[in-house]
């Protein structure tokens, strides 16, 4: 165990692994894939040190199903992978959702589609926030933007998974996984969690427990879906995390998450120094999405007379996925524009600053046309 009071320089992959160990992860199951291999290597050493379980699996299918098995017995289990491997895990994630089992899945995203490349990307936003596998379900998705936040996400992910009996996806990317930053591992007090009386521990002195996702009786599966939906509504009500910066007087609000938000922050700071009224909203939970916060920021722009023009610019390392959620939140009250780089392209601070400046100098009436694609 590390001395938790000290700050250490670690890459994101190793840091998230250590954070999972501190969060009480009982079992880690993984399969090699770049750019997250440091997680697997670190866990192969650390988990046995703690007397816990590490298995290098034959595939991502096996990894997620080992998580399924360990979780069903009430243990804290996790896996990590990168985009193509996460696609393979979708079957298991759907079963976890159906069987109401907690699990933590870390996706250190890389470029796609297909084998893609091993460069950082945010192309898996849809897959993560829409469920990803078959059926009518959601996963909680956390989108950290620094190595420290990645570390902080791990205990939260395990707690959320246990509290709501739901798979939690920690959505990082190749930069977060690979880059080194100073981090601290201060152990936070965990949540008060419900007992796992549903777990398979052997029917000793109690009735048999069954973990299942098959509901054949007429209406039974519909009932399960309503039950899950009620839980999802609780999560949407209670668990949204989002950061706002310089939004109050902003004429341009940039929305970005993860490492893209980090770059945007640099651009916003530079723009402010040049007197441009620009702010920043950073969703930390990607599902539940901070719809209300963004909606409020959009409403301000039509609340006053004369109308204060506020433009939303969504920046992603994809060709536009989260921007759809931003548009749903803004609901036509303000123009929502988009700038993104796909396939491993990483925008620079100056590139985003340039886009902000272009927006700033355009005549404001130009944005009366809704949903303009910003070239």
């Amino acid at each position: 165990m590390r001395n938790i009071s000290e700050s250490v320089l670690m890459c994101g992959n190793e840091a998230l692994a250590e954070a999972a160990v501190i969060a009480g992860c009982d079992a880690y199951f993984g399969y090699p894939i770049t750019p997250q291999n440091e997680v697997t290597a670190y866990m192969s050493r650390r988990m046995p040190e703690e007397g816990r379980v590490f298995v290098q699996c034959e595939s991502e299918l096996a990894a997620i199903n080992m998580v399924f098995g360990a979780s069903a017995t009430g243990k804290r289990a996790m896996t990590s992978s990168s985009s193509p491997g996460i696609s393979l895990m979708q079957e298991g994630i759907s079963y976890l959702a159906g069987a109401e089992l907690p699990a933590v899945v870390v996706n250190v995203m890389r470029g796609g589609p297909g084998l893609g490349n091993i460069a950082p990307s945010q192309g898996d936003y849809f897959q993560s926030t829409r469920g990803g596998g078959h059926g009518d379900y959601r996963t909680i998705v956390l989108g950290p933007s620094s190595v420290q936040e990645l570390v902080n996400c791990m205990p939260l992910a395990f707690d959320l998974a246990d509290q709501y009996r739901i798979p939690v996806v920690v959505l990082a990317d190749g930069i977060l996984g690979q880059m080194m930053e100073p981090v601290g591992f201060q152990k936070q007090p965990g949540r008060d969690l419900p007992p796992k009386d549903w777990a398979l521990t052997g029917a000793q002195g109690r009735d048999q427990n069954i973990v299942r996702s098959l509901w054949l009786k007429e209406g039974a599966l519909e009932e399960l879906n309503y039950k899950l939906q009620a839980r999802y509504e609780q999560i949407q009500k209670n668990e949204v995390l989002c950061e706002q910066y310089e939004v109050d007087d902003a004429e341009i609000v940039v929305v970005a998450y993860g490492i893209a938000a980090r770059i945007v922050r640099g651009a916003v700071d530079k723009a402010r120094k040049e007197g441009i009224k620009v702010g920043w909203i950073r969703p930390i939970t990607l599902w539940p999405f901070p719809t209300e916060q963004i909606s409020r920021a959009a409403a301000e722009s039509v609340g006053a007379i004369p109308i204060r023009f506020r433009i939303f610019l969504t920046v992603e390392m994809s060709l536009g996925q989260m921007v759809e959620d931003v548009k749903l939140a803004v609901a036509g009250k303000a123009p929502v524009l988009f700038y993104g780089r796909p396939g491993g392209g990483v925008p620079t601070v100056d590139e985003i600053l340039g886009k902000i400046k272009e927006l700033q100098i355009r005549p404001k009436t130009q944005y009366a046309i809704r949903d303009t694609q910003y070239k």
Binding site: G69, I210, L214
Partner: protein, 244 residues
């Protein structure tokens, strides 16, 4: 009056959903008897397959889980590694274990997972309507081999037990049949041995393959199905202990 036979407690007293002449009921009872004889009811966790036996937990009164098709050995690995004191068994059909789940069973054996696998081989996909399985015999008529399985294009019956027996991590592999009282007694002995190995913490995977009748999709009477196992099915799938 002396009671000489009674329903074993782990086998629930309930109506069956299986077809007349199906082998699942027999296999379930043999597992239930074994669990009670070994006194492991309170620490056993069972894994039900995708297929007709997905409802195995309706009959076996132990903690149980449903898993995705073929993935049972991976789920069992996750359970056993985190709960080495529990007795973990998977119950899998031939579609489950010999088709979609070949990677998981081979690698669970290869890692010498300390789990017990009961492999029901009835030479067809039962629940989905009697399609060809990898274990379908040559010439056998199924929903997807309507002129009989032809080796050209459809291949040969897949002998998974023989494949597993060569792996050092598989410590016990035996093929039995549920085709007669004598064979059922042998099956029971094999199942009991497979569980005993796990109870004794033996270092590897134990598997019992059971040739099991599916009269519905073999389009035969239950009696004729039993005969077919002994006359035809044992040709590609000879009975006996392959390992251990």
């Amino acid at each position: 009056m002396k009671i000489v036979f009674t329903r074993t407690p782990t086998f629930k007293d309930c109506p069956t959903h299986y077809c007349p002449g199906c082998g699942h009921g027999i296999a379930h009872r043999l597992i239930a008897e074994t669990i009670d004889e070994l006194g492991i009811h309170g620490r056993t966790i069972g894994i039900a397959p995708v297929g007709c036996a997905v409802l195995a937990y309706n009959y076996l009164d132990v903690d149980m889980i449903e898993v995705a098709h073929g993935r049972a050995p991976a789920v069992a690995t996750g359970m056993k590694r985190t709960n080495p004191d529990k007795i973990i068994f998977s119950y899998q059909g031939d579609g489950d274990l010999a088709a979609i789940g070949t990677a998981e069973i081979i690698h669970a054996a290869h890692r010498a997972e300390q789990i017990t696998v009961i492999f029901i081989n009835n030479a067809v996909f039962g629940m989905t309507g009697g399609q060809m399985a990898p274990t379908t015999t040559i010439g056998q008529v199924t929903a997807t081999t309507q002129k009989g399985r032809n080796t050209k294009g459809e291949g040969y019956p897949l002998q998974v037990s023989e494949l597993l027996a060569v792996l050092p991590g598989a410590i016990y592999v035996e093929r039995c049949a549920l085709s007669s009282p004598a064979q059922i007694r042998k099956s029971k002995k094999a199942i009991r041995h497979a569980f005993e190995l796990q109870v004794n913490n033996a270092e590897g995977l134990s598997l019992v393959e059971l040739l099991s009748p599916c009269p519905t999709y073999w389009r035969m009477s239950p009696a004729r199905a039993m005969e077919w196992i002994e006359k035809e099915m044992i040709k590609p799938f000879p009975l006996g202990r392959l390992k251990g």
